[in-house]
Amino acid sequence: MAEKQSRPTSFQEIILRLQAYWSAQGCAIMQPYDMEVGAGTFHPATTLRSLGSKPWAAAYVQPSRRPTDGRYGDNPNRLQHYYQFQVLIKPSPPDLQALYLGSLEAIGIDMEMHDIRFVEDDWESPTLGAWGLGWEVWCDGMEVSQFTYFQQVGGHDCHPVSGELTYGLERLAMYVLGVDHVMDMPFNDPQAPIALSYGDVFRQTEQEYSRWNFDVADTEVLLRHFEEAEAECARILAEPAEDPKTGQRIVMAHPAYDQCIKASHIFNLLDARGVISVTERQAYIGRVRSLAKLCADAFVQTEAGGYAA
């Protein structure tokens, strides 16, 4: 295991250390996906790359949006926009648990003083048609990560199996830094000439988005966007594999998947606006899931998805 690490002093230092650590473990450090998503799992580097036989190792920060969790920046740890740190390695290495524990040491959690536990928690994403077995990881009784061995994604069995780690960065950082309210957490070095707190960066946006998510977002427009994204996704995938212009085989899995992500986020917004009834809810989730399945079907027909001509 790694040398004992000094304690980090800011939110961003924790992110930087996680990136450095997983980089040292051989992961490609990717950047956030440039679309609104509900969780780091939606990044194609996880959802699509967990499919097919090709090995893969990536780590990245993903800004995530959960409109219903907005609390106008008042709640000590609930946010409508937050960060997840995501690691995906395929096939899952035999020492993934030890690697994970190493990452906790890297951000200054002293294994000699804390009580780390792997508590059963099976993961399921009804919108992605995905599930896996694993744990939530507890540090002194607090959930700090989700640890999952993917078994199925988009309705496809995962072969080989990917190991996925998800860190809820704000909560983890608050714990490591000993902060009680997320807005009080130092974002950059507190000794810096211009020291910024998490609140300095995000309090105002939390307010703005909370208001928009709950009360102002135009539901008719959103409903229309949902339908459009759904139609576009299907249309893209209905195109023949061979591109008439270049004569190459180009299955457009990623552009179609973008539409699936879009539909999923719009559904979350509609949910926050309270215009989706309990029974409709299941139907919407089912619609997004069928898009995810179509995209997964398409991805395994691509080279990255293990397709060999």
Partner: protein, 754 residues
Amino acid sequence: MPNLLIELFSEEIPARMQAQAAETLRKNVTDGLVEAGLTYAGAKAFSTPRRLTLAVEGLLGESPDIREERKGPKVGAPEKAIEGFLRGAGVSREALEERETPKGAVYFATIEKTGRPAEEIVAEVLEAVIRGFPWPKSMRWGAGSLRWVRPLHSILCLLDDESGARTVPLTIDGIEAGDSTEGHRFMSKGRFSVASFEDYEARLKRAHVLLDPEERADHIWQEATNRAFARGLEVVEDKGLLREVAGLVEWPVVLMGEIDEEFLELPPEVLQTSMKEHQKFFSVKSPKTGRIERFVTVANRETADNGATILAGNQKVLSARLADAKFFWENDLRVAKAGMEDWVDGLSSVTFHAKLGSQAERVTRIAALAREIAPHVGADPDKAEEAARIAKADLRSEMVGEFPELQGAMGRYYALEAGRDADVADACRDHWKPLGQDDSVPSAPVSVAVALADKIDTLTGFWAIDEKPTGSKDPYALRRAALGVIRLVLGNGIRVELVQQLLFGRCFDHLFSIKELHILNDELNAAMVTVQSRKKPQPESFSDWRNVIEEVQNSEGQIEAFESRIAAVNRAYQKARIIATNLLAFFHDRLKVHLKGEGIRYDVIDACLAMEGSDDLALLVKRAEALSDFLKTDDGENLTQGFKRANNILTQAEEKDGVEYSFGADIKFAETDAEKALFAALDAADARIKPAMEAEEFAEAMRAMASLRAPVDAFFEAVQINAESDVLRRNRLNLLSRIRSVCSGVADLSRLEG
């Protein structure tokens, strides 16, 4: 004789699966060994979060030689049959022997199996057990195809005897069995080899792993109670939580912490549930006030600061959780103090079941039924109805939304806040009861009325829409509901005719809705007024309605317009009758299971079920208990034999003669003393039995029956039934008939076995 040690070392096994998995490992491995000819002296299995371990003592070193002869097809049988036989027996064509038998020449094969060393058998059995392990949920990992509950890392498989220990050669999906294992994840470093089970257990302990889950649980409980006791407090017992926590740690370290002052005023159920569900903490309460004041958490390691950092972290998480709970509680209190109307109204937007309507509709039915039941259980009808109306309101509260298991408990608090009477509030809490075999049965009349109404509405509802439990599937817990009704009725000595007074009306209501019937009735009345210029009385009961309908059907004129609706009512009547009877049979089945547990035989219950009034469960059980006691006496057993003898002779004679001998025997045709004595005894018994039965004094009635034993025995001893004289024969048969009728008044003894 060698001992066998197996350890399957994996990533963390869910706590809830560990005990069953250890037991499965023990059973499947030992079954496989025995099947292959390896018997053993003893076997014990253990589990920790990361390992399943099996220790088998006194195993045979090798399986015995087996020589077995097998008979095959006839010589000249089709080639396919012979080939099949060869395959099955595992021998070659040349090895077959032809032998003459009375049925011609037949092939025989001699199968010889030489004994095999334990190593070989153990390796085969263990591989089969691992590959076929019945985990509730299993997974693959990496690039492999093996399934296990979480990634399997190593296999320890060791045979040891006086000559030393040897590893069993075995490789599964690239995992090679060895003689080594690992200790605690954080408090031990590296792998170590072991030489025997004792060595394994001792070395594990040195490496900070307590192998035996019971030892871990005992240690946790001991430490927790000691710590609580030192502060004059006590730990709230929770065996399920103890088992679970023992499955989350290999090296339990018990820590006790404080709950922030601001949360101490939360109801104890809330504190306990929040701490248990989210944090797996034990609650620690003051024995004097019952107030929960502290918590116990169990860490998986020792630390240099004696757990101070761990405890501080846990305490912080708890405060955040309890802050949520407090937020829910305070929001809920506002609604409760305002009378809970928001919640009651909100129930109309919650679907109970697509075919049985919303929770609000259900509540309306339960309230009406609770009012109806109230007089039977000595409850105030107004209060029963009031309690039923608000009993489900807490389902809409934020607290119950977060912690569904607090339903009822919160209902009571909120009802009190809403200013309702204590017995109404108690009914909100207790109407869910009894929830299981071990749960207590409410006895407060209002609670009993609502509890019964709730369960009967559920049962009749699901029966009416034909969603009964089948086999192991009982998604709406209807068996539990039926047993709940039985225990409520018996526990409180409630006398009610289930079908007539409760089930039938409810079944009808589910099929047709009494509301619709009311509307129909009003319309019919209006029509009748114009037809006959007179107002019909408002019908009060089902039979009144039936009369109204019949009268209307018989009358002429405008009634035709109602014909199809009246026909629908009639259909509902017929169907409700069938469903209610069917549901009663379900109650009887549950009752049999329940009484079996109390030591009453099935046939005894059947004998009582055959009597009238079997839908009065309290009466039925009273009768069954008396009969069961009676049959345990000598007199009871013998009288039953006498009765059966009389009944058999009589039945045969009646079949043969085509008449029923119930005309009444006459003492003047009695010839022998034994016969005369039986007449006298029957008269005497009759005189005692009738009043006893009227007073439902079954034991007394049976004692009176028991007095017949000697005269009946003596009668059969001395008297020939089939006398030469036809008159004498008829008279004796009629006398047997009296035995039958006297005995049958108590129970149908012909249904008793043996």
